[in-house]
């Protein structure tokens, strides 16, 4: 962890976010990574909502740019979960970005962050539509792109490009 602090030396705001996070959540295994000037933190699924509220209220990440779904079927190491969801946070007006990563298993249910960031409503519906990851307490979790009675989740790695006939 200490060498992570040196990497953040010329990014003061990100450095104190790093300090605050490691101070308030010492127990949980938060895995930080800083590459190409982008700070990313891997967060266990159970504490996601707590950490995101903390980031929003205390650290000032007041806007959510994007919610990204990943299917790491082919590149995951042994024992790792299949899916991952990334929350791209943005701090305005201090102009800083942070990426929070959560690993989701095959048919686990992620919890929706719509109460925190209303912008995530459609993005989560898109992830459900494309990957089949269900979100708890989502206002109306329905498919957004495909027909409602479409079977299969297109962006999964095992889904053929031309679609199932």
């Amino acid at each position: 962890m200490p060498e992570m602090r040196e990497q953040l030396n010329n990014f003061p705001i990100l450095q104190n976010v790093f300090d605050k996070l490691s101070r308030t959540f010492p127990g949980q295994e938060l895995v930080f990574s800083f590459d190409r000037q982008e700070l990313a933190v891997r967060v266990p699924k159970e504490h996601l909502l707590k950490i995101l509220t903390f980031l929003k209220d205390d650290c000032g990440f007041n806007t959510l740019s994007d919610v990204i779904g990943l299917d790491n079927l082919n590149i995951r190491k042994e024992g790792e979960k299949r899916f991952a969801i990334l929350y791209q946070l943005y701090m305005f007006p201090a102009v800083q970005r942070l990426r929070v990563r959560v690993e989701i298993g095959e048919n686990e249910v992620a919890d929706s962050i719509v109460p925190l960031y209303p912008a995530a409503d459609w993005a989560e519906r898109e992830i459900y539509d494309m990957f089949g990851i269900r979100f708890a307490h989502h206002p109306n979790l329905r498919r957004i792109y495909m027909d409602d009675e479409w079977d299969g989740f297109p962006l999964r790695k095992d889904y053929p490009l031309e679609g199932k006939k």
Partner: protein, 167 residues
């Protein structure tokens, strides 16, 4: 005189010419665009390429008053039944122009969500290649359609009455 290749007499022949002349010169396109080709269709209707010279500038918003359906863009599987219903709502002497590679054959999107070619659901009269076709390409396609309309025989139902059944 076998009904199969019944020739239109002088009266029906000139009547055909009159009707097709009128239909050719007042093709009102249906104001519906799907994707990028729609922008080139509007650019063709704008002042630089000016489709109104051929009397086509009245883009009717309701299918009831349009008689030319330019499929300008990608027809996805979700949109296909809608496009089919719009085509059925148009009154009868109607023509379809498939504008752009997506409408002609699915174009650069061979994916699960795209209908590979609009002629799977609609009878297409003119195919225009290009992604998107330039306004000159669209104008050339429309002039081809005008030539095709000029050769039609709308009064065939009268002078070749029995031919209709054998067709």
């Amino acid at each position: 005189m076998t009904e199969k290749n019944a020739k239109p007499g002088f009266f029906f022949g000139s009547l055909d010419k009159l009707i097709t002349w009128a239909q050719k010169n007042s093709l009102w396109p249906f104001g519906s665009g799907l994707a990028c080709c729609a922008i080139e269709m509007i650019a063709t209707a704008a002042s630089h390429y000016d489709i109104s010279r051929f009397g086509m500038e009245l883009f009717r918003a309701s299918p009831r008053q349009a008689d030319l359906f330019i499929i300008a863009g990608t027809v996805t599987n979700k949109m296909a039944p809608v496009v089919r219903r719009l085509w059925e709502q148009m009154p009868d002497p109607k023509w379809v122009v498939a504008m752009g590679n997506c409408a002609v054959s699915g174009g650069p999107f061979p994916t699960y969500a795209v209908l590979q070619g609009v002629d799977k659901i609609l009878p297409v009269d003119v195919y225009i290649a290009g992604c998107p076709p330039t306004p000159q390409g669209l104008l050339e396609g429309l002039m081809l359609l005008q030539k095709k309309i000029a050769k039609e025989h709308p009064t065939r139902m009268i002078y070749a009455r029995d031919a209709r059944t054998t067709e």
